[in-house]
């Protein structure tokens, strides 16, 4: 991976946000027009690492997200490339009017690296959880939405965002993520899903923190149940890799989506939109946070509570495999 200045060993010792901070520092060396903005969350989001390295190019605007995203729009208009970091909940909701009108409408080069996404700030409760942002952000015209699976993929995404024209939303978690890749050069390509495991019985399409869990579930299902489960890491939600979804529908006929996000409007919905267009019949299930405000707890425990951990995913696969839908007389492959 070009420009990556830390090893996999370093990556395992760094939180996902720290990897983002370090990557942004490296990018900032290469591109003088990059500036950083935060709203009193420089430390938490790790954009503060950029701020320490380039104090004249970093703007802490205080606890005022609307002004921050508006300023970022103005800076982008004047030829700078702002990277803006606050929590996902504030990026996608507190300042959404500014993201929509100032940034997306004008298709500006503002890169939003939103941290503490999904249920990763578990004990903070629903004021700081963010299980709606994928749905919101992917509905914005001109927006690119990336949900990296781990720290290494975050580094790729942060770099790819620079080269991508227009607004980019990258959603990362608080704290550490399980590393899903053994090597950094696995071939990250924006808009192209990564096949984590091949399989023909069923495809799990996951993003973010659920990718590692989906891979673990698939491993168990192969060992215990003898199932060949394909796992796709759909790191780019928009533009989505329609080809990979269509292939999964054709080749495995069973699709389960998993996301640390509400089941309304996020990855599952994005996959459904493509899959439904294939004209093929297939079995489909969306795993995620149901239509509710989450309970409080550690991220790990919340994922288990909502059935989006290894066990929950494995159980959903078994249930789907157990459905004898092909015997249904109404089942018609080619509609």
């Amino acid at each position: 991976m070009s420009g990556m200045t830390f090893t996999m060993l370093d990556a395992t010792k760094m939180s996902t946000a720290e990897i983002y901070g370090k990557t942004l520092c490296d990018l900032g060396e290469e591109h003088k027009e990059i500036v950083g903005l935060s709203a009193d969350l420089a430390k938490s989001t790790k954009i503060g690492m950029f701020g320490e390295k380039f104090p004249e190019r970093f703007f802490n605007v205080g606890i005022a997200e609307q002004n921050m995203f508006g300023m970022a729009a103005g800076m982008a208009k004047a030829g700078l490339v702002p990277y803006v970091s606050t929590f996902a909940v504030f990026t996608s909701m507190r300042a959404l009017d500014q993201v929509h009108t100032d940034i997306c409408y004008q298709n500006l080069d503002v890169k939003m690296i939103a941290t503490h996404a999904g249920l990763s700030f578990g004990q903070a409760g629903s004021t700081h959880h963010c299980t709606e942002d994928i749905a919101i952000m992917r509905s914005m015209a001109n927006m690119t939405v990336i949900v990296p699976a781990d720290g290494v993929e975050t580094a790729h995404a942060v770099r790819a965002a620079y080269g991508r024209k227009g607004p980019v939303y990258i959603r990362i978690n608080r704290g550490f993520d399980q590393a899903v890749y053994e090597r950094p050069d696995y071939g990250f390509e924006l808009g192209k899903a990564v096949t984590m495991r091949e399989g023909t019985d069923l495809t799990i399409i996951a993003c973010g923190s659920t990718v590692w869990r989906a891979v673990e579930a698939a491993r168990t299902l192969e060992k215990v149940d003898g199932l060949k489960v394909r796992v796709l890491n759909m790191h780019t939600i928009k533009p989505i890799d329609a080809e990979a979804i269509e292939r999964a529908v054709r080749e495995t006929r069973r699709i389960i989506t998993v996301e640390d996000h509400t089941t309304i409007g996020g990855l599952g919905s994005a996959v459904a939109e493509v899959a439904a267009g294939t004209g093929k019949s297939f079995s489909f299930r969306r795993l995620g946070v149901p239509d509710c405000f989450s309970i409080i707890g550690l991220h790990e425990d919340l994922l288990a509570h909502y059935g989006i951990d290894e066990n929950g995913i494995a159980a959903a696969v078994r249930e789907t495999m157990g459905r004898d839908f092909e015997a249904d007389e109404n089942w018609d492959d080619e509609v």
Binding site: R57, N67, F69, A72, G74, M75, K77, A78, G79, Q106
Partner: protein, 297 residues
Amino acid sequence: MPLSSEEKRRLEEKAHELRNLSVDTVVWAGSGHIGGSMSAMDIMTILHHKYMKIDPKRPAMPDRDRFILSKGHIGVGYAPVLADLGYFDKELLKEYNHTGSPLGMHLDSKKVTGVEASTGSLGHGLAIGLGMAVAARLKGESWRTYVLLGDGECDEGEVWESAMAAAHFKATNLVTIVDRNRCMIDGPTEEVMALEPFADKWRAFGFEVVECDGHDFDSLAAAFDRAHAAKDKPVAIIANTVKGWGIDFIAGDYKWHYGGFDAEKTAKAKESLARHRDARLAGAAGGAGAAGKGGGK
């Protein structure tokens, strides 16, 4: 520097011409935000025809001054200013609001040459302008950013977030102007949501405040001269204006925030504008009180 009498006459004529073109645009568009267009027209005229370093032939000129119309709903006032300068063909104004037209109620920077930011959602312009001002300073460039806000718009919290930040970042290359016409959609500002003591609010947020008569070019010129000399604090110009200035049957009436003119009203509006232009040229009138009906200060 005080305006020469020739310069003042030129500005008066230009403002009059632009007000008439704005009335025409409202007619072509079917309806529009006429009241706020009339109150802001002298401010937009002096900026575009005296102070701003711009070249309509080179709209992307890197060192141009920037103007952000934060009160983005007065597209029917702003589009004529740009068309008249030659940013685009004046004929296009006749298609205002038509299906597929680049010109709609709120001007889109991606579609209308000369427009620096797509505004319309109130409260956004100062933040965008501040971002530009900070960028100019970071890049070592000397251009200025002017942001025109509506007074009712200042109810929005984001305005004050941006005001706090502009003072914090000492954005003296940013000039904030408030079109203080004292009206908003549902009524007078002081009845709907009181802004006073308005100047004190800006001062408390770290601005130097210059109050002026927004329909008197000498008063506006003195205010801009002061703003351009800003040293440590950003300057906010509170331009006291009259909503619908120059058109007697709408002046000072909040109900004319938005509306349309039939042939009879159009003729009456133009006749009224001519009368006020003559009065201003004669030096007999002018100033916020001249056409006010309960507006102004």
